[in-house]
């Protein structure tokens, strides 16, 4: 699969134009409706952006993403282009403004191909809760691409775009990246602006890249990261995400948290991930066992925090200012109740109710406040762990991608499957998922690397080191 760095060379050497490249991707998108990767394809806009990019390239201008066709998760606001969150609620919503990341991509002259499908409001790990396009796994169309950034993962893995943006609240970039055999990175909370990212769990959400290589992830992050006056949870930092690529890893320490290799993890996944760890060890890195006792509370804390915030974040959808509005409401109360009940799907309602429960009087202390305490403890634990090691290595998911109908009817099972990814969000640390082989059925397996906050550059470094020796699996599309 063509990486951004390869395409960059081809574009700059004019062996291909951005228009040609864009047309190729658009053709492929049209040829693969069964992937269900896109809610919206912006053919005209993409071609005009590509033309503009070609003009700039002809003028000798260059920037890492100039003329590179990308896909954008459909929960990132694009001015003038519908942003639906794969929900009936926002099916016709046209944002009056651009997300900061979109302004940054535009500034680099990137080409936006379209908006990718996802779990409704990013709530899910299968992307099958989408009320619009339901994406499928390019490695096996009967399997889920993971979620919630399933459309972005399917698009990258299926070769429908050079790379994509996703968002990650509890693993929504890394898990679909692992399921679809690509690289996905969630940067440190506060490195990329959330302004224009439709909020799910505000204290956990982070936008990040999904791409064909770790270096590509770094290229995109270099373009979109930075402190933003519109998002005061962003911090000032000067991370060059790719500056450590190629630097030796020998002598560096990799933490292996034992709790991540327990019974819940599929044996094939475990083996592949342990092999990845061994590869680093063979190349001079030191493996050390670390411990994360709070992991047993992580899923609970994550769902309590995320759903509590979501219950508040999603209250704005009332059928008054935008979005679905019920026909002939009898009263204001009727208007909001019916609009919300018609507009939201089952999983979204479930999480709103759960979050409302966690915050309601009488339950706040027992649930929400406990979750806040666990988050603080989890951060402390991570601080301790990263005093001992440079990065931590874990599976990205307990299993490979499952069949489309399998998990999604059982919320408890579905929630538990997030065990390997949620701690990075709770602790606000960066994490990257890298493909490390396939299982007996040919489905991709991924492992994750995480680092301490703002140590993001170590992740492309380690991931790139692995990639150099291990080809990513390629979908037969």
């Amino acid at each position: 699969m063509a990486t951004i760095s390869t395409l960059r060379k081809e574009l700059d050497s004019k062996s291909i134009s951005s228009v040609e490249l864009t047309k190729e991707y658009l053709k492929k998108i049209n040829e693969h409706p069964e992937l269900g990767a896109f809610n919206t394809v912006c053919e005209e806009e993409a071609l005009s952006l590509a033309k503009l990019a070609d003009k700039k390239i002809a003028n000798g201008e260059s920037s890492p993403l100039l003329g590179i066709p990308l896909a954008i998760k459909d929960n990132i606001c694009t001015k003038g282009i519908t942003t639906t969150c794969s929900s009936k609620m926002l099916e016709n919503y046209i944002p009056p403004y651009n997300a900061t990341v979109m302004d940054k991509l535009n500034a680099q002259g990137a080409v936006v191909l379209g908006k990718t499908s996802m779990d409704e409001f990013a709530m899910g790990g299968s992307s099958q809760t989408s009320a619009l396009a339901k994406p499928k796994n390019p490695f096996n169309l009967e399997c889920v691409p993971g979620g919630s950034s399933g459309g972005s993962a399917a698009a990258v893995s299926g070769g429908l775009c050079a790379a994509a943006l996703g968002s990650d609240t509890g693993g929504s970039i890394r898990q679909p990246a692992a399921f679809c055999g690509i690289v996905g990175m969630k940067p440190t909370y506060g490195t990329v602006s959330r302004f224009g990212l439709v909020a799910f769990g505000s204290s956990l959400d982070q936008i990040g890249p999904m791409a064909n290589s770790a270096e590509d992830c770094g290229i995109i992050l270099n373009a979109i990261a930075g402190q933003d006056i519109h998002d005061r949870t962003t911090r000032s930092h000067n991370i060059n995400f790719n500056e450590l690529i190629g630097k030796p890893i020998s002598g560096m320490k990799i933490g292996i948290p034992k709790e991540f290799f327990g019974d819940g993890i599929d044996d094939e996944v475990k083996t592949a991930v342990i092999n990845a760890a061994k590869f680093y060890e063979e190349n001079g890195a030191e493996l050390i066992e670390v411990s994360m006792p709070t992991l047993k509370y992580a899923v609970s804390a994550y769902y309590l925090l995320a759903c509590a915030e979501a219950s508040s974040n999603l209250s704005r959808y009332d059928g008054v200012k935008y979005g679905l509005r019920t026909e002939s409401p009898e009263s204001y109360d009727d208007l909001i109740k019916k609009s919300r009940s018609e507009g939201f799907g089952t999983e979204v309602k479930r999480r709103i109710l759960l979050g409302t429960y966690a915050l309601s009087s009488g339950y706040y202390d027992a649930y929400y406040k406990k979750a806040l305490a666990v988050r603080q403890q989890c951060r402390l634990e991570h601080d301790e762990i990263f005093k001992k090691c440079d990065v931590m290595l874990t599976p990205t998911t307990p299993t490979v991608a499952y069949k489309c109908r399998d998990n999604i009817d059982d919320p408890v099972k579905m929630y538990l499957a997030d065990i390997c990814t949620v701690t990075a969000n709770i602790a606000g640390i960066p994490a990257i998922s890298v493909p490390c082989g396939i299982d007996k059925d040919g489905m991709p397996i991924g492992f994750s690397l995480s680092a301490k906050r703002f140590d993001d550059a170590k992740l492309p470094q380690f991931a790139d080191f692995f990639e150099k020796e291990h080809m990513h699996p390629v979908a037969n599309i």
Binding site: N75, S312, S315, L372
Partner: protein, 474 residues
């Protein structure tokens, strides 16, 4: 009559801060504008938009807290208060619950009652709803959404309707002095919620309270409380129990009525606002804010009475508005004849500005000081001084110029005085004889004649002095 019940009143005062931009976005926060013309993705709750807190809003709230003797929390945090209403686009109000900006203040009333302030927190205002009965619809305008508000929450230390009204007017005056709020009740920039309960006189046990929401004038606050006391007294007298509820005051009938309460839906599910970082303050931040607090009305009254020797009454009138007090201060800094300036100010300046709505005084303190001085020194006579002020208000101009142009300048022409008086003495030897015989009232006749003849050339004082000298020589 012996009082049967003690009244216990607590207030929550909401005051809109007069910042240029809204609390959480850069939209124009000024009052008015066509519907939805002061809006952006943030204040209309667009998906993905994030609040960014305004430095001035925090600064103003802190200044108010310091002036009301509060402690400033060195770490203050925002919380979301969740409820659905069409004037609240995000369906939550960004407010403060656990770690408000200001805590533990106090204000003393003229009755000697000390009202403790529980906390002052910063929050955002909601939009405006217009109701259309004909079409059975309401219309939402979000121009006011996210305008910064402070909520001042008192302890239940207030004992009467009069005290409540005094407290609110005192707070309004302070906020104006602090330049943090316009305090225009008609524009809704100050509103109050009142909690009232009665308890048997002398008892320590608080009764069940009713809350009256959204009172927007000093008068309606007082009337609402009076009416509510009467209502609760009647209930208690009949052995009944006051229902803990929210009530509304109707200005037309002067009575309160119950708002249909959905008590079960009143769970606001506060939680820490994840989109806004907590704010920390250094000691320098606090010191700087303190240094920006102007002298407050009670401090000025103290100076006016103790140092300037003005009466308490005069001092209160002068400090009734900050711009008046500032103008007075500026005048006496140039011309420190406090009593005279105060008199002239009250009769000539305050009368005029009260006729207008504006808080601008059309003449400068420097010119006003000059006129006061001219009148005191008899450079012009007092009536002409007033005319000069009128002309300055109506047409502008410099006081000396106006006095000259209109022939108001009093010239002390001693030669003329001597000539006129000597001639009068020569004309009326009969009256001189009368004087010698003890009819001293003839002095008045000469005084009148001389003044008439000398108008514009000499002041009555000089004429009098010369006459006295002349009579003494007889």
């Amino acid at each position: 009559m012996c009082k049967k019940y003690d009244t216990v009143i607590g207030l929550e005062i909401h005051a809109e801060l007069s910042t240029k931009t809204k609390a959480f976005c850069t939209c124009d926060a000024s009052f008015g504008g066509d519907p939805n013309t002061h809006i952006c993705p943030v204040c209309t709750g667009q998906p993905g938009a994030l609040p960014v807190i305004n430095h001035a809003a925090v600064e103003y709230a802190m200044r108010a807290g310091l002036a009301l003797n509060c402690d400033i929390n060195r770490y203050t945090r925002f919380d979301r208060k969740n409820y659905f209403y069409p004037d609240l686009p995000k369906a939550y109000q960004i407010s403060q619950l656990d770690l408000p900006l200001c805590v533990n203040g106090k204000v003393e009333l003229s009755t000697g009652t000390v009202v403790r302030i529980h906390q002052i927190h910063l929050e955002e205002d909601a939009g405006k709803m217009v109701h259309d009965d004909y079409h059975g619809q309401s219309y939402a305008d979000y121009n006011r959404c996210s305008v910064p508000l402070i909520e001042i929450v008192t302890e239940p230390d207030i004992n009467s309707p009069e005290e409540a009204a005094e407290f609110v007017s005192k707070i309004a005056l302070y906020l104006k002095y602090l330049n943090v709020c316009d305090a225009k009740m008609q524009e809704g920039s100050i509103r109050a919620d009142v909690n009232i309960s009665l308890k048997p006189a002398g008892s320590d046990i608080l009764g069940d309270r009713a809350e009256i929401k959204n009172l927007n004038s000093f008068r309606s606050i007082q009337r609402a409380i009076e009416s509510e006391i009467a209502r609760q007294t009647e209930i208690l007298d009949q052995g009944g129990k006051v229902v803990q509820e929210t009530r509304r005051f109707d200005d037309a009938t002067g009575t309160t009525s119950s708002l249909r309460s959905k008590e079960n839906a009143n769970d606001y599910r506060y939680f820490p606002e994840p989109d806004i970082l907590a704010i920390t303050f250094t000691e320098e931040d606090i010191e700087k804010a303190k240094s920006e607090i102007p002298l407050l009305p009670h401090e000025r009254v103290e100076i006016y009475t103790k140092e300037y020797g003005l009466t308490d009454e005069d001092a209160r009138v002068l400090t009734s508005e900050k711009y008046l007090s500032d103008f007075f201060d500026e005048t006496v800094a140039i011309y420190p004849m406090y009593k005279n300036v105060s008199n002239m100010f009250q009769t000539e300046i305050m009368r005029r500005v009260k006729e207008t709505d504006s808080e601008e005084i059309a003449i400068s303190a420097k010119n006003f000081a000059k006129v006061c001085e001219m009148a005191d020194k008899n450079t012009v006579n007092r009536n002409d001084a007033k005319t000069i002020i009128r002309i300055m208000f109506e047409e502008g101009g410099e006081p000396e110029e106006i006095a000259k142009t209109n022939g108001f300048i009093v010239v002390e022409d001693t030669e003329a005085i001597a000539n006129v008086v000597d001639a009068l003495f020569a004309e009326r030897p009969d009256l001189i004889e009368d004087y010698k015989n003890g009819k001293t009232n003839v002095f008045g006749f000469f005084m009148g004649q001389a003044n008439r003849a000398l108008k514009g050339k000499a002041t009555p004082m000089s004429v009098k002095a010369y006459l006295e000298k002349k009579f003494n020589e007889i």
